[in-house]
Amino acid sequence: MPNDESSPALPRVVVTLPAALVNLFPGSARRVEVSATTVGDVMDALDSRWPGMRDRICDSTPGIRRHVNVFVEGERATLATRLAPGAEVMVMTAISGG
């Protein structure tokens, strides 16, 4: 599992990404470990490692995109949601399209 070494002082969390997102960023992976205390930190870490990934998950309102959901320990989250050390963060595509 790829590790983010950029902020070793912050707690580590595990992030799961949807395949349709991973396909857009060569070298990315379905499970990633990053240092973060909020979901917003997770976005920063992902964007730092794969530039542009935040824009695929978040829009300019700012917030998580309408048809993307982020769950923390099974609960639907926002960018402000705080993360406990070792938290499981799941980024999922919602039902959409046609």
Partner: protein
Amino acid sequence: MARRVLILVGTKKGVFIIESDAERRSWKLRGPFCETWPMNHVIADPVTGTIYGGGGNEWFGPAIWKSTDMGATWTHSSEGLAYQAGEAPIKAVWSVAPSAGRLYAGVEPAGLFRSDDGGQSWQHIAGLRNHPSRPDWQPGGGGLILHSLVPHPNDDGQLWVGISSAGVFHTADGGETWEARNRGTRADFLPEGQKYPEYGQCVHCLVMAPGMSAPLYQQNHCGMYRSRDGGRHWDSIEAGLPSTFGFPAAVHPRDPATLYLLPLNGDSAGRYVPDGKAAVWRTRDSGDKWEALRGGLPQENAFFGVLRQAMGTDRLEPAGVYFGTNTGTLFASADEGDSWHCIAQYLPAIFSVETLVVEA
């Protein structure tokens, strides 16, 4: 030197590239590209050969895709392609146009962006959304979209845009200030006495013929028009056509008086080709007279439409003309529209058709 032509097809489910030699008798299809994203407009910069695709994915938002190797590999970016926090976020890119080393992108909700580094990063041209008419802009059936981008061929400060349904706007100072240019175009959907407003018309497609003092043409929700003064005044050219409604318009690559339209049967009648019989309509005199081109096109039980960016021409001689249907069929003519062949079918709904001619 031998040449080959690439038809760049944006669809509801990705980009396809269909290729032939200059004879244009046999075609080979590649795709889908761009991870099957809905791609509203795919173009090529004729100077560099770089292909750009603008689209938007319901999950992941808007992006400009780019290929520098004729579609073999693609990258994407939306860096800077955003409005300020608190505004409705951008859903999709609807149009892309190169001009003088720059790239322009029109988006939904309607706005204009510019890239000076080949599509890697984007800057908002805020002047357009600062136009005093903006609070009144109403979405058309496809949304509030900036779908037509027409850079001036010799003056990189000038640009025309078409917004549904705000109308045509022109800048002469690189986007700082804008002027509505809709005089003479109708808005049949407004009450009597208000049918010729300053702005708010539903332009469907805006194109400029080749040449220094070339006319502008537009297919509107309510009629077809020509302007010989940069859009300050528009004249109706719908007489002789089977309806006043359609989406695409395409100009001949060398003759500014030759224009192709594909009228549909009306905005509330199904938006099919009239009577279930497909025809491209051609004028050779800037819209005074029209002829129906039906050779090789289905003449019974055809119930498709053609969307606003789904017709184009190539720059070969004689010029090729192409259109794609909302039912996923692509038709081609290698003789300026006199005869047609189906060159691809069973594709996803076709949103755009553009061409690139390269040396083999």
